[in-house]
């Protein structure tokens, strides 16, 4: 009796200890964010970074945010990022839905081989393709446009793979029923399977959105014109120009830049976490 009591007590203690450890580490992980927001709102941080660091701004003001928005380049980069992200996600997700469906339900020659080709693309990083793609888009005079950012995401092995797996779970009997009614493959896809693909389409959109919004190296290569810069490019050029001076302004800028992703994340976190765990691939 006594031993079970002490056992219970010990259990309670370990649970609390675990909880406290998790909380402390969580605070450590969050600290950069919290500090970023606080410095951004600190009027005096614009002149010199407050030292010692403080969580509550000495002179609370929206001064830094005002400058960030007045400048206009941030808003321009937001618009650019939105155009690129929306179109590239739409194209990438549609082509992956079509291909994923064909690989799941299709019966045709070379299916296995073609699917292996798709899986191989997962192992090909951006770097070896960088210069040829740059030359390719240069030769058709499309550098400094959004096309180089919109077209290559047409192919995304990860999305095709996820999509195939999803359609594999849907029964073939739906197809057979539609076939008896005389529907062709396209009709079957669009009227039978496509309406059922909501969950996987949402997952694909979320993943592609994060990858595209955060993409950096390729946009850096193809967009020299500052007016076309996406959000990460604008951040990087601001950061390289100013280094660690202009602390308050930099932090306000960083806050505004991560805001859309954080808002989307907080609303859809359940699905995002699920789809990342599912796909096991992160994009940077």
């Amino acid at each position: 009796m006594i031993s079970t009591m002490s056992h219970k007590k010990a259990d309670k203690i370990t649970t609390s200890v675990k909880f406290v450890i998790l909380l402390i580490f969580g605070v450590v992980l969050m600290a950069p964010f919290v500090w970023m927001v606080s410095v951004g709102f600190d009027r005096t941080a614009n002149i010199s970074m407050p030292f010692p660091p403080r969580l509550i701004p000495e002179e609370l003001s929206g001064f830094n945010y005002g400058i960030v928005f007045e400048n206009g380049r941030l808003i321009q980069s937001y618009i650019n990022s939105a155009i690129v992200t929306i179109t590239s996600v739409a194209i990438g997700v549609s082509s992956s839905l079509l291909a994923g469906y064909a690989f799941s339900k299709g019966r045709f020659k070379g299916k296995k081989l073609l699917f292996i080709v798709v899986l191989c693309t997962l192992m090909i990083p951006m770097e070896p393709r960088l210069i040829p793609l740059y030359k390719l888009f240069n030769s058709v005079d499309l550098l400094n446009t959004f096309w180089p950012l919109i077209l290559p995401p047409l192919i995304n092995g990860m999305l095709i793979f996820l999509c195939k797996q999803f359609f594999d779970q849907l029964p073939d009997s739906l197809r057979e029923a539609a076939q008896i009614d005389g529907a062709g493959e396209f009709k079957i896809f669009f009227s039978v399977y496509f309406p059922l693909a909501g969950p996987i389409a949402a997952t694909m959109v979320i993943l592609a959105f994060i990858w595209s919004w955060n993409d950096f190296l390729w946009p850096l290569v193809v967009l020299n014109n500052q007016d076309l810069h996406t959000v990460p490019l604008y951040l990087a050029s601001f950061s390289l120009e100013n280094g660690t001076s202009l602390g308050g302004l930099t932090m306000a800028l960083a806050t505004v830049s991560v805001l859309p992703i954080i808002v989307v994340y907080l609303f859809l976190q359940r699905y995002i976490i699920q789809s990342i765990a599912l796909s096991g691939v992160k994009g940077e």
Partner: protein, 306 residues
């Protein structure tokens, strides 16, 4: 006569079914056209073009065939090997720290009833924010004089390094950033797999009198082999391609003193600030080979089936 008619009808029928099958086969290829157009244009062509370019001296307009000279240039270049060293150094410590730490935190989250979802959300947040913004924030967080990290270190009486201002510690600044950014991913993948381990095993162990720690050591860890292998491989692939954060923190040449220039940054510097496409292509292929060999070795070592 009637019998004959029936036979003819039957053969006619089978012909039309065959024809239908053939046409329906073709429609499947139409489904694949967009993706394979993308694969040919944006994957296959660049890979071969890059190989061709690596044998030429090229600045994008003028091309001269020079055989293996580019490879010689790269392989005898000090900065290249320095960038390889930096890439591996940062990658090794990132992986060595993040996977065990992430696994421990995933286990802790998995075993607490309270606040599981809350911790998942908090811990994963760094991973969805762009690494470019994260690097920008870390330039301040790790600032030798006004950053919060050194403030905390000094407060508890520990030495405060100069981080990104000093070539001997700058790699560790990048490692800290990399751990911070990647750990959420490791935790989420570990959590997903922790929950897939069958409860029966734990119950059997409990009946045998195994403590929580013993269960963790002898059931959980052996069952996570595949997960660790997966994290190791994806971690390496990511680490070998590291570019974004080192570019933001140190520019294309990875200052201070090239101490954080990675292979990706070396290629960018040669290709897009020096316009030496041939040299950059050769470096790219060497990097590509390193990634392939490394992935292959990782697959063998971790015994993972693809």
């Amino acid at each position: 006569m009637a019998k004959n008619n029936m036979e003819i009808n039957a053969t006619l029928g089978s012909v039309s079914i065959k024809q239908k099958k053939k046409t329906s086969q073709w429609t499947w290829y139409i489904f694949l056209i967009p993706s394979f157009l993308g694969i040919i244009l944006f994957m296959v062509y660049p890979i071969f073009e890059s190989l061709r370019l690596s044998f030429y001296q090229s600045n994008g307009t003028i091309e001269n065939f020079i055989g293996l000279d580019n490879f010689k240039t790269v392989l005898t270049s000090g900065p290249f090997w320095n960038s390889v060293w930096n890439t591996f150094y940062i990658g090794i410590f990132q992986i060595l720290i993040t996977i065990p730490l992430g696994f421990i935190f995933a286990s802790l989250i998995n075993s607490t009833a309270r606040g599981q979802n809350f911790f998942k959300v908090i811990y994963f947040l760094p991973n969805v924010t762009s690494i470019v913004a994260a690097a920008m924030i870390f330039a301040f967080v790790l600032h030798p004089e006004m950053g919060i990290v050194n403030y905390a270190l000094e407060a508890i009486g520990l030495p405060a390094p100069k981080w990104l201002a000093d070539p001997s510690t700058s790699k560790w600044a990048v490692i800290l950033l990399a751990v911070w950014h990647w750990i959420g991913f490791v935790i989420i993948i570990c959590l997903a797999n922790l929950q897939a381990i069958s409860a029966e095993m734990y119950e059997a162990a409990k009946i045998d009198g195994a403590s929580g720690l013993q269960q963790w050591l002898f059931i959980t860890i052996p069952n996570m082999g595949g997960t660790f292998a997966f994290l190791l491989i994806t971690g390496w692939i990511g680490a070998l391609q590291r570019f974004n954060e080192v570019y933001v923190l140190g520019g294309p040449n990875g200052s201070p003193a090239r101490s954080i220039q990675t292979m990706g940054a070396f290629i960018y510097e040669r290709g897009f600030t020096g316009f030496e496409f041939g040299v950059a292509s050769a470096a790219t292929y060497i990097m590509f080979m390193i990634i392939l060999v490394f992935t292959f070795v990782n697959l063998k070592v971790s015994n993972m089936k693809l």
